[in-house]
């Protein structure tokens, strides 16, 4: 084997080693990031709304269950929810009402 070929093979081995380390490091980084995201944004198994009584999730925001870890007994956990959603503005109407909204 010529000196040039030996140098080439040695360089290829170094590149192969570096590639293996990079792949391992990338896998480890993905794992760590997944764990961090999973902890920061706990998910839930919300059901799909259907037109069947008693099975929908109407009015329920994407469920954000309390953290799985035991919450402090004296203070609320910090979570984020979509805010209250506005609707098209009401309009005054001269028509007779079909329902009443009042205290109950």
């Amino acid at each position: 084997m010529t000196a040039g070929a030996a140098n080439r093979d040695s360089g290829l081995r170094r590149v192969a080693r570096m590639t293996r380390w990079l792949v391992a490091a990338a896998i480890a980084a993905v794992g760590v990031l997944s764990a961090v995201v999973a902890q920061a944004l706990p998910g839930s198994s919300g059901s799909t709304a259907t037109p069947s009584p008693g099975s929908g999730t109407v009015g329920v925001a994407p469920a954000t269950t309390p953290p799985a870890a035991s919450p402090s007994p004296t203070s609320p956990p910090v979570t984020s929810d979509p805010s209250l959603q506005p609707a098209p503005p009401p309009i005054p109407t001269p028509h007779h009402s079909v329902a009443r909204s009042g205290g109950s």
Partner: protein
């Protein structure tokens, strides 16, 4: 327009239910759907029947209880309400309501009674409720009682209106105790609703008639569901920071939102927040109407002026 819409009103959940649909031929199917929702909600969320899922949780002494999906949905709605209002709408007011004298169906709560003896303290807190949707269980600490009165009717109204529109295929309005949800195609000009202090008042009660086309309209009031204990007049909207009836800065608050639940969260929290409710509602971009005890009115957002 509204002459063609025939409301059907009946008793349900200890209050009044109203159903209106845009297609008269769909009325019986819509009523059947609504009845199923009401039965399910009552069986799941009532605190006045010992066999409800909620009462089984309240009586479990801190142990997890397997419950149906409806109670889990309803509690998650209540927890979201608590989070969005920084705890001003808190479902752990059950014990406070009992101590205030609201310990049975309101129709049987004595109008007058002896003076109350209680301690001013914060309610246990919504974060003590542990919901495990995957396991289908709910657990609350021993001694804590959950009450879903602030949000369950609105939740049921949303569920029924959307369900009827989807299953029956017409526009629907469902009102449960004055918490109004609409879904599906609205009638021309929208759904006309009278906004007033008491949902059970007659059609000529003082107030304003507005039309909505989507979402929900809710009203909370300190003028109804009141009772007397000693010299004190008590109502059902509890301030979680004191366990007492919220000071009546506002007699009645109404709001329109994307769902009846969201409208109800806004109005209940506004009663609890008192004066600061004006800025809070404005910041949320919600249309709302707030009435002081003397009858003067504040309008927030796009809430319209009444027709003179």
């Amino acid at each position: 327009m509204s002459r063609d819409l025939c409301p059907e009103t009946f008793s349900a959940l200890g209050t009044t239910a109203t159903l209106v649909v845009t297609d008269s031929t769909a009325r019986s199917a819509a009523r059947a759907f609504l009845d199923e929702v009401l039965v399910d909600i009552d069986r799941s969320c009532s605190r006045f029947r010992a066999d409800s899922d909620l009462e089984r949780v309240n009586a479990a002494g801190g142990e997890p209880v397997t419950v149906g999906a409806t109670l889990i949905d309803a509690i998650e709605v209540a927890l979201r309400a608590a989070r969005l209002t920084d705890g001003d709408v808190d479902p752990t007011i059950g014990t406070a309501l009992r101590l205030l004298g609201y310990d049975r169906d309101f129709a049987t709560v004595a109008a007058t009674g002896a003076s109350l003896s209680y301690v001013v303290e914060r309610v246990p807190g919504w974060w003590t409720i542990d919901v495990d949707r995957d396991a289908g269980t709910v657990r609350i600490p021993d001694g804590v009682r959950v009450d879903l009165g602030a949000t369950a009717k609105a939740f049921a109204a949303d569920r029924a209106a959307v369900g009827i529109a989807g299953a029956v295929g017409c526009g629907a309005l469902v009102s449960l105790g004055g918490d109004v949800a609409v879904a599906g195609p609205a009638p021309d000009g929208g759904w006309p609703v009278l906004v007033t202090d008491d949902h059970a008042a007659g059609p000529d009660a003082p107030g304003e008639t507005i039309a909505i086309r989507a979402g929900g309209l809710a009203t909370s009031s300190t003028a109804v569901r009141r009772w007397q204990r000693g010299d004190e007049t008590v109502h059902h909207i509890v301030d979680p920071t004191t366990s007492q009836a919220a000071p009546a800065v506002w007699r009645t608050v109404s709001a329109v939102a994307g769902t009846c639940v969201d409208a109800n969260i806004a109005t209940t929290a506004a009663i609890v927040r008192g004066k600061s409710a004006l800025d809070w509602l404005t910041g949320l971009g919600l249309a709302a109407r707030l009435v002081r005890p003397d009858g003067t009115v504040e309008r927030v957002g796009d809430w319209p002026e009444p027709i003179q």
